[in-house]
């Protein structure tokens, strides 16, 4: 690993100022960053430690959940209010990484995690537009079994790997941040960026901007939510396909539906057509199967990742069944 400086800012404003400096990177839990440093993908001049200037607090109020950006993934998953009120969020966190990693990993770091594209993670591969803008994309012609079928571009088809972010998308979360002009709120749907021609730009954050907390509103559907993830082994693996869903029932009919997909898209993906097809229908398997057919509409597949289309549909059905139960 290369050498770098390590800075502990005294205030959030100082952290923002430091974060704006060239080649400075924030570190929270370090589970993503230390990995990328060791792979030589990240080559910062200095790390700016956020642990002294952000909060770990998790609090539930009648209007929703507020969690500090430092809330550890394990604490958030285990929090009794999160388990009861936002089951999809708890289940998504629980399905991610390992217990050891979840004890270190923070909410902010999880939102900001980078793709697991094997070409991105190997600096010995010359072509990767995300790592070296303009160099090409090794995955387009290479092995793309893990890659995205939705939201890809000619420049990049890397999957956004966060499970938690998929649940946050289904639950309409709001990301609160701090930059030099002050605080702002970003809807989770606008937080992650599509690759387009600039896959190196992954979020709406400006240089130096820091995620301070996340708010998840209590809603008519947040309690009736679920997360289902399918992977190559039973535990401790990234999603091949996953779905976070939430339902609000009115009598025998579905009044509101949220369906978000993970593992198949370049960012956490709202399946709006599936949601629309669920509305006004009874929450039955027939309804779910018919709606789920639309889950991967517009998919662009490679011979390696074609299977994800059918997998995404089935994952959606299973998640809807679990939420409706």
């Amino acid at each position: 690993m290369r050498d770098f400086d390590y800075v502990v800012p005294k205030s959030l404003d100082e952290a923002v100022a430091r974060g704006k400096q060239a080649e400075h990177r924030f570190i929270a839990g370090g589970t993503l960053l230390v990995d990328l440093l060791r792979l030589d993908v990240e080559r910062p001049a200095a790390l700016v430690d956020l642990n002294a200037v952000l909060s770990e607090r998790i609090s539930w109020a009648p209007n929703g959940l507020t969690a500090g950006a430092l809330a550890r993934n394990s604490d958030l998953a285990d929090h009794p209010d999160v388990r009861r009120e936002l089951p999809a969020l708890s289940q998504a966190l629980e399905s991610g990484a390992s217990p050891q990693i979840r004890n270190l990993a923070s909410l902010g770091g999880n939102l900001m995690q980078r793709t697991r594209c094997a070409y991105f993670r190997d600096p010995g591969v010359a072509e990767c537009n995300k790592r070296r803008p303009g160099s090409g994309c090794a995955a387009l012609e290479g092995y793309s079994r893990m890659h995205a079928v939705l939201g890809g571009s000619r420049a990049c088809i890397a999957v956004h790997p966060s499970d938690m972010s998929v649940a946050l998308l289904a639950l309409d979360a709001i990301v609160r941040t701090r930059r030099s002009q002050g605080g702002r709120e970003i809807a989770i749907a606008d937080f992650h960026a599509l690759p387009g021609e600039t896959p190196q730009v992954e979020t709406a954050l400006e240089p130096g901007e820091i995620v301070t907390e996340v708010f998840v509103p209590a809603s008519g559907f947040s309690r009736r939510s679920a997360y289902v993830k399918v992977r190559d082994r039973a535990a401790f693996a990234f999603a091949l396909a996953s779905a976070a869903v939430a339902l609000e029932l009115s009598g025998e009919k579905i009044a509101t539906a949220r369906v978000a997909l993970g593992g198949v898209a370049t960012k956490p993906w709202r399946a709006l057509e599936v949601e629309a097809a669920l509305l006004g229908r009874p929450p039955t398997r027939e309804t779910f199967e018919a709606a789920a057919k639309l889950a991967a509409n517009g998919a662009r597949t490679t011979p390696h990742n074609q299977f994800k289309v059918e997998l995404a549909r089935r994952v959606v059905v299973r998640a809807l069944e679990r939420a409706a139960a």
């Binding site: 690993m1 290369r2 050498d3 770098f4 400086d5 390590y6 570190i27 839990g29 370090g30 589970t31 230390v34 990995d35 440093l37 060791r38 792979l39 030589d40 790390l47 430690d49 642990n51 394990s74 990484a97 390992s98 217990p99 050891q100 990693i101 004890n103 270190l104 190997d122 600096p123 010995g124 010359a126 039973a234 535990a235 401790f236």
Partner: protein, 335 residues
């Protein structure tokens, strides 16, 4: 290990070749010293390239190395690339010779790839101080600056001679930290890039905690941080602060093993034993989380610990037994 290349007409490898070279060097655990007519380059996989004018001593030294292998480098044309692998004992253990008809950078890369393949026992990433010292005495003829480029590397053992090496390559970001491990304070001067795992193993001599993957994927490095299990390979030592670390060495009492250790022995929960310290410390974390409620729950919550020998069934049995015997206590002195 050092890859020595003699390449008379060589300018600059170029960014792309450099990246690919880094990957090969990383596999080899080696630094590259490339000696050209006017300029020489030296770099480790994780450092920037250092460029210096080639000196006569340098050329002479390299010529002698290859001569010992029966290659007369002076007799070669400027279109020839000689590349050899210098092992820790200071002998050239492999070499190749190629004519530079195409792109010299690519020829260099190809030779380096061959070298990587030829290395029967690749050294681990990061070179220990013992090797640094051997190298120092070996390449005494090299200019100091060049050497520095080769020297800077992973954390070094506090061997007495290591100070001589580090004085050549000052570590600008090094700082003093105090680590509390198994209820004992250790003062250390370390660079920010040092993980808790490397600090434990390389600096404190606490080698019970194992390095499997160094990327958070295997759990061999599991330690407790304030009583909670974490991967020591993903945690930078400078970030630990006053929090308490518990390692496998801290589990047993003065005369008796920890109940989890007893259970692993009793249930034969290991074969080669490499993953075992991580399994046991992780199991302690799990028992403290009170989530070992069934065999299935144990399997799920132990999923961060891989065992290549496949001792899983007995690991689960051992954890169930330790749970039933109240094995979730931290050792008294570490609570």
């Amino acid at each position: 290990m050092l890859v020595v290349a003699l390449a008379p007409n060589f300018d600059d490898p170029g960014e792309e070749v450099l990246e690919a070279l880094r990957a090969e060097l990383r596999c080899l655990g080696a630094a590259l010293l490339l000696i050209g007519t006017d300029h020489s380059f030296c770099f480790r996989p994780d450092d920037e390239l250092v460029e210096e004018p080639s000196t006569d001593e340098l050329r002479l030294w390299a010529a002698q190395l290859f001569r010992a292998q029966g290659v007369e480098s002076e007799a070669l044309t400027p279109e020839t690339l000689l590349l050899g692998l210098l092992d820790d004992g200071g002998s050239l253990r492999w070499h190749t010779r190629r004519e530079l008809d195409g792109d010299p950078s690519l020829a260099l890369l190809e030779a380096a790839r061959l070298a990587a393949k030829s290395a029967l026992a690749p050294a681990p990433i990061g070179v220990l101080s013992r090797r640094e010292v051997v190298l120092t005495s070996l390449i005494g003829a090299l200019s100091l600056v060049l050497l520095e480029g080769c020297k800077r590397s992973e954390p070094q053992r506090p061997a007495p001679s290591a100070s001589a090496v580090s004085s050549l390559a000052p570590a600008p970001f090094e700082r003093e930290v105090t680590l509390n491990v198994n209820d004992k304070d250790y003062r250390l001067s370390i660079e920010p890039r040092v993980s808790v795992l490397d600090a434990l193993r390389e600096r404190l001599g606490l080698t019970g905690t194992k390095k499997g993957c160094d990327h958070g994927q295997c759990g061999a490095c599991t330690v407790l941080l304030d009583g909670r299990r974490v991967n020591a390979c993903l945690l930078l030592a400078v970030m630990v602060g006053k929090r308490k670390l518990t390692t496998i060495e801290g589990l047993a009492g003065p005369a008796e093993l920890h109940p989890l250790q007893e259970a692993f022995v009793a249930h034969d929960a290991l074969q080669c034993g490499y993953c075992t310290p991580g399994q046991i410390v992780s199991a302690l974390g799990l028992l403290r989380e009170k989530r070992a409620t069934s065999a299935e729950a144990i399997r799920e919550h132990m999923s961060g610990n891989l065992c290549r020998c496949g001792a899983y069934p007995n690991i689960v049995k051992a954890i169930e037994a330790a749970r039933d015997a109240g094995g979730d206590a931290l050792p008294a002195r570490a609570t």
